[in-house]
C-alpha cells in the first residue's frame, strides 16, 4: 500500500536572556560546572522562583514572528518527575495556558501551522564518570549550570509531509529565531533541540496513524535521516500486517536506526498542576505592541524583497537569507551600490565553499560591505576580471584588507590595453596553427580553447570583452 508520512516537530529553543528563567544566574554556555548556580536554580529548600521578564519578552517576540495569538493571561505549571538533573523534582513549565497559540511558518509556499509555544526551564546536565554514557560508568556528576535556563518549546501541527520538509521547517524556524535575536540556534551547544513525532497513513486517509516520538536528534541531518528511517520502519510493520506501537524512540547516529526508549505504558504521568509559587501573568497589550514595533524584517519578507526588488531567484534568495549575518552584509553592500547579482554569486559560491572548507562561521569572516561594493565596482569598471575577482574575494574573506590593495599586491589588475592584448592573442594563434585550421573548417568550439589559452598566458588578467573582440578579428585574418 502507498503511505504518506505525517510529521510534527517539537523544538526546544534556549531563549537568549542574560539571566535564568526564575533566578539571577548567568546563562552563558561553557562555564566550569556548577559555577552559574544559586539556591533557587539548584532547588534548595525554602527558595522561590521569580519570573524573568526578558524570557516573557522573548517568548512574545517569537509569537509575533510566527503570527501566533499571544495569550492575554498565561500561567506556569509544575511538571513532576524524578531525575538527578532536575533539582526540584519538578520542572516549571506551562501546561494548559501557554503564552502563544496558533501561528505558522511558510516554507516554499506551504504553510506549516504552529500548535503552541510555551515557556519552561531547562534541566541540568549529567556527566557520567569513567564512560561515554550512563552504562559502564562508575558514578555520575551533575552540573546545574544549564538548570533553569529559559526554553521556549515550539510545537508544530502534524503538517510536515517529508523528511526534507522537516529540515526546511527547522532551518526556517531557527532562522526566524536568529533574526529576532532570541536564540542563537546552536545545535552542538544544545540551544536548539528537536524531537519528531512521526506516523504514516494510507495516502488519502484522514485518520492519523499511531505515532512514534523520536528523541536524540542532534543535527538537521539526523532529523532528516531519523524521520526517513522511521517512515521505512513503520511502512515495513504495516505492510507485514502488524501494528505500530506508540512509544518514544531514540535515534542512534552510528547505526542509523531508532531504538525503543519507553512505551506508552511506561510513559510518565507528569501530574501537572498550577505552580503555586508564581501568580498568573497578565500580558499587557501595550507591551506586546511595543515589542511588535521592535521586530526586524523577517526572513520570509526579506526573501520576497530580494526576489521582487533585486531579481534574485528563490533559491539564491533562500540561501542568502538563511544566514542573517550574510544577508545583512549583502543588504549593506547593495545599499552602497554593489551589484546584487555579483554579490549574490560571490556569497553563495566561493564564500560558502570557503566556509565549508575552513570550517568557519560567517561571523568569523573579515569581509565588509564596503569590500563587496568596491569589488563589484572594480568588475564593473573593468579594473579586474570576474575570474580574478573571485581570487580577490578569497583574500577578503581571510583577512581585513582593501580591494585595491589586493589587486595591486597580487598583480590582478585587468589588462584592457588593446595593443598589448593584440600581441597576446596573435601569439596564441601563431602557436596553434592546427586549431586555427579546425576553426576554419567550422569547429567553432575551438574558440573556447583559444580564450582559455589567452587567459592562461595573461594570468587571467585580460579583459574578456576585448579578447573576444580581438578573437573575432584575428581568427578571420590568421594565416594557416
Amino acid at each position: 500500500m502507498e503511505y504518506e508520512p505525517v510529521i510534527g516537530l517539537e523544538v526546544h529553543a534556549h531563549l537568549k536572556t542574560k539571566t535564568k528563567a526564575f533566578c539571577g544566574c548567568p546563562t552563558e554556555f561553557g562555564a566550569q560546572p556548577n559555577t552559574q548556580v544559586c539556591p533557587v536554580c539548584v532547588g534548595m529548600p525554602g527558595v522561590l522562583p521569580v519570573v524573568n521578564k526578558a524570557m516573557v519578552a522573548c517568548a512574545i517576540k517569537v509569537g509575533l514572528a510566527l503570527e501566533c495569538t499571544i495569550s492575554a493571561t498565561t500561567k506556569f505549571d509544575r511538571k513532576n518527575y524524578f531525575y538527578p538533573d532536575l533539582p526540584k523534582g519538578y520542572q516549571i513549565s506551562q501546561y494548559d495556558e501557554p503564552i502563544c497559540r496558533g501561528g505558522h511558518i511558510t516554507i516554499r509556499n506551504r504553510k506549516i501551522r504552529i500548535h503552541r509555544a510555551h515557556m519552561e526551564e531547562d534541566a541540568g546536565k549529567l556527566v557520567h564518570a569513567g564512560a561515554a554514557g550512563l552504562h559502564g560508568s562508575d558514578y555520575s556528576l551533575v552540573d546545574y549550570n544549564r538548570g533553569g535556563v529559559p526554553l521556549l518549546e515550539i510545537v508544530s501541527e502534524p503538517d510536515i509531509g517529508s523528511p526534507e520538509e522537516a529540515r526546511l521547517y527547522l532551518t526556517e524556524l531557527r532562522n526566524i529565531l536568529r533574526y529576532i535575536d532570541v536564540c542563537d540556534g546552536n545545535l552542538e551547544e544544545g540551544s536548539f533541540r528537536c524531537d519528531a513525532n512521526v506516523s504514516i497513513r494510507p495516502v488519502g486517509a484522514t485518520k492519523l496513524g499511531t505515532r512514534a516520538e523520536i528523541k536524540n536528534l542532534n543535527s538537521f541531518r539526523a532529523v532528516q535521516r531519523a524521520i526517513q528511517y522511521e517512515i521505512e520502519r513503520q511502512t515495513t510493520i504495516l505492510d507485514s500486517g502488524k501494528e505500530v506501537v506508540q512509544e518514544t524512540r531514540l535515534w542512534n547516529e552510528s547505526d542509523g536506526k531508532t531504538h525503543p526508549m519507553r512505551s506508552k505504558e511506561e510513559a510518565h504521568d507528569y501530574r501537572y498542576f498550577p505552580e503555586p509559587d508564581l501568580v498568573p501573568l497578565v500580558i499587557d497589550r501595550t507591551w506586546v505592541t511595543e515589542l511588535s514595533k521592535e521586530m526586524p524584517e523577517l526572513p520570509e519578507v526579506r526573501r520576497q524583497r530580494y526576489m521582487d526588488n533585486l531579481k534574485l531567484s528563490y533559491d539564491d534568495a533562500f540561501v542568502i537569507v538563511e544566514s542573517k549575518e550574510m544577508s545583512d552584509l549583502f543588504d549593506q553592500a547593495v545599499k552602497l551600490g554593489a551589484s546584487a547579482r555579483d554579490c549574490s554569486n560571490w556569497l553563495i559560491g566561493p564564500t560558502l565553499a570557503y566556509l565549508r572548507e575552513e570550517k568557519k562561521e560567517f561571523a568569523d569572516l573579515a569581509l565588509t560591505p564596503k569590500n563587496l561594493y568596491d569589488l563589484s565596482r572594480a568588475v564593473n569598471d573593468g579594473a579586474v576580471s570576474s575570474t580574478a575577482a573571485k581570487q580577490v574575494l578569497i583574500e577578503l574573506l581571510a583577512k581585513k584588507s582593501e580591494v585595491a590593495t589586493i589587486i595591486k599586491d597580487l598583480g590582478l589588475a585587468q589588462v584592457s590595453d588593446e595593443g598589448d592584448l593584440r600581441k597576446a592573442v596573435s601569439a596564441v594563434l601563431d602557436a596553434n596553427p592546427s586549431q586555427v585550421e579546425e576553426f576554419r573548417q567550422g569547429k567553432t568550439k575551438v574558440r573556447q580553447f583559444f580564450f582559455g589559452e589567452i587567459m592562461k598566458a595573461t594570468k587571467g588578467k585580460a579583459n574578456p570583452q576585448i579578447i573576444n573582440k580581438l578573437l573575432d578579428e584575428l581568427l578571420v585574418q590568421a594565416k594557416v
Binding site: V47, G89, V142, Y272
Partner: protein, 503 residues
Amino acid sequence: MTLLGKSISEIHKLLTSKETSATELAQAHLSYIEKSDHLTHAFLCLTKDLALKQATEIDKLISAKKELPPLAGIPLAVKDVLCVESYPATCGSKILEGFKPIYNATSVNLLFDAGAICVGKTNCDEFAMGSSNENSAYAKVTNPWNHNYVPGGSSGGSAASVAAGFATIALGTDTGGSVRQPASLCGVVGMKPTYGLVSRFGLIALASSLDHVGPFTRTVEDTIRTLAVMAKPDTHDSTSVPQKMRTANCDMVALLNDLPKITNLKNVKIGVIEELSGEGNEKSVQKALDLAIETLKTLGAKIDKVSLPKVKYALPVYYILNPAEASSNLARYDGVKYGARDKSAQDLLSMYLSTRQSFIGSEPKRRIMLGTYVLSSGYYDAYYKKAQRVRRLLTEEFNDIFKSYDLVICPTSPTTAFKFGDRTDDPLKMYMADVASIPADLAGLPAISIPCGFDENNMPIGLQFMAAPLADRKVLEAAYAFEKATDYTKFSPMLQKYESAKT
C-alpha cells in the same frame, strides 16, 4: 530582677534605661532554655553564638547612644522550617539532617535587621505536617502547662517556647492552623496574617498556596510590633502582596500608634460561625466561646450568628490540596543534593527509594501518596480540580459574609490540648483538630487565636477572629480590645517554677 517573660516594650525600656544589657538578656534566656528545655523539647538547636553576636551589636548601639531598632534585644525563636543562615534547618525530618541553608528567610532577616536576637530553632511536626508535634522525627514537644499534654502543632515548639517564656517572639508557620491551633493549646497569641502579607521566601514549603509565616507572642501588642517589622513586600516572593495593595487596613505601624485609642468595639459587627460553634466543640470550649461573646457585647460589638455552609467542606478540600502540593514540594528531598542519602544504594532508583523510605516519616509519606494520587491523570479532575473549585466557592462565601460583618469568630480548636498518643492511631481524628483553623488558610484570611479561658484541667482555650483579606488590622484591633477586657494572658507554670527555684 528577672529578665524573663518581658514584653517588647518592657525590654526596650530596660535597655534604654541601661538596667540591663542585650547580652545579659540573651544569656538569661539561653540559660533558662538550657536548664529547662529537657521538659519541653521545644528546641531542635540553640543558636547561642548568633544570639550573643546579635546582642553585642545591640549593646554597641546602646553604648554609642544610637537609636535602637524596634525589636532591639528581643529574644526570638524560629520554627525549624524557616531558614536561618548557617544553622541547621531540618523541618523536624531526618531527611534534612545536616542541611544548613546559606540564606535567611526574608521574615527572619527583617526581624534580625530590627534587632531581634535569635536564641534557637524550634521543634515541629515533620515538614509542618501534624497537629500535636508527635510527628517530629526528633522529639515530642510537651505542653508547658502540663507536660503530659501535646502542645498542638505543627509549630508546637514555637508555641511552647513563648508559653514557657523561652522567647518573647517565636515564628511559626500556618498551613492549616499550625500557628493558631498550638497558640490556642498553649495559651498564647498566634496570628496568621493575610496570605502574602509576610514573605514566604526561606520558608521550607509544605503547601505553597496555603503556607503562611506568623508570630507567636504573649500579647496582641507584641504581635502587632512583630508584624510591623515583618509584613513587607518581597521581590523574592511572587505571591507577596505588592505595596500598592497594602492599604490602611493592614498598616501595622499606623495601628501601633492608634493602639491607645482602642478601648471598645463599638460599631464592630461580628458573626459567630454557626457551623463551628455548638455541638462540635468540647463543653469547656463552647462555654468559653459563649463567655467571650458576652465580653465582646459588653465592649459594644454587634454580634449575630452567621452561617457558612461551605465551611464543612474545608477539611476534605484541604486534605486534597495540601497533599497535592506537598507531594511536589517534597520531591526535592531525593538524596542527590543535600540532606540524608542511603549511601549503600547501588543505583539511582534504589537510591531514591531507600533514601526516601528510610528518612521520611509516615505522615509525610501518607501525604505524598495522597497527593500523587489526586494529581494523577484520570483523578486530577475528580479531586484536585474539584477541590480548587470548592476552595473558590468557600472564599466567595467568606467574601459575601465580610460585606455585612467586620469579623467572624469561632473557637480556634474544638478541644483543648489532648494527651500524647490519644490521636496518633487515627489520622482522621488528628486532622479534625484543625477543622476550625483550615478555612482561613484556604481563603487566605487574616486570623488570630488569643487566650479566652481554661478548661477543668487548667489547659488553655483559644478564641479565633477572622476578617476579610488585607483587613488584618480589624482582627488585631478586636483581639487587642478583648485582651484588655479579660485576664487570660498568663504564663505557663514553668516560668514561675524556674524563677522560684532560682531564688
